[in-house]
Symmetry: C2
Subunit: 129 residues, 2 copies
C-alpha cells in the first residue's frame, strides 16, 4: 500500500495526510500531532499503573497515607524495592510525601490515578468473586 521507496519521514507525512483525508473534516498536522500526544500521555500514564507492585501500592494508598515501612509489610517486598517503586510514582507526580520524624508518609496526589485505581479495583477485585 505505502510506497517502500520513501523515507520514513515521507511515509509518515503521507500516512498522516491519508489519515486526515479519512476523517472527512480534514485535520491539520498540528491537530494530528495533538491526538498523538494525547495517546502518548495516556499510554505513559497507564504504564505507571501497569506494574504489579506499583498498582498494589496505589491500591493501599486509596485507603489513606502509608509509611514506607507499612507498605513494605503490606507488599511483602524489601525496602529498597518499595522505595524504588515509590520513587517512580513520586517522579511521575502520582504520589506525594510528608515527613514525620524518621518516617515518610506517602499519599495519592493525582485524581486521575485515584479514579482509575478505584475502577480497576472494582473490575479485578470485586467482580470476579
Amino acid at each position: 500500500m505505502t510506497d517502500q521507496t520513501m523515507t520514513p519521514a515521507e511515509q509518515r507525512t503521507e500516512a498522516a495526510a491519508a489519515a486526515s483525508a479519512a476523517l472527512d473534516h480534514d485535520l491539520a498536522e498540528t491537530e494530528i500531532a495533538e491526538v498523538v500526544k494525547n495517546a502518548q500521555d495516556a499510554a505513559d500514564f497507564l504504564k505507571i499503573l501497569s506494574h504489579e507492585g506499583r498498582l498494589m501500592i496505589l491500591c493501599h494508598l486509596v485507603d489513606g497515607e502509608k509509611s514506607v515501612a507499612e507498605l513494605e509489610k503490606l507488599l511483602a517486598v524489601r525496602q529498597p524495592t518499595v522505595s524504588q517503586m515509590l520513587a517512580r510514582l513520586r517522579l511521575e507526580g502520582v504520589v506525594e510525601t510528608r515527613r514525620d520524624g524518621k518516617a515518610i508518609y506517602y499519599s495519592l496526589a493525582d485524581d486521575r490515578a485515584r479514579q482509575l485505581i478505584e475502577i480497576i479495583y472494582d473490575m479485578f477485585c470485586r467482580t470476579d468473586k
Copy 2:
C-alpha cells in the same frame, strides 16, 4: 528491618506473615496469593493498554469495527506494525475479527477494555481542552 541472612523465600514468607498481622483479620497465605494474583491480572491488563499505538487502535474501535487498512491510515503506521499490534490485542482477547473478502475487520471483544478506554478518552482527550 528484614533479616538479611534469610533466603528470599523465607523473607517473603515472613513478610507475608507480617502483612497478615497488619490486616488485623489475619489473612491466610492463599488469600494473600489471591490479592497478588488480582494485582498481576490487573497490571497485565493495563500493560496491554499502556502503549500508544494499541491505545489508539482501541480508541478507534470504540466507534465501531475497522479493517487493518483503515487502522493503518488512521494511525499513520505501516501495515506490519498495525498487524503486530492487532496480534497482541487478539492474543490477549481484547479484540476479535471478522473476515469479509480480503479484508479483516477488528472490533472490541472485552467490556473491561471498552469501559477503561472510554474513561481514559474522557480523561486525556476531553478534559484538557
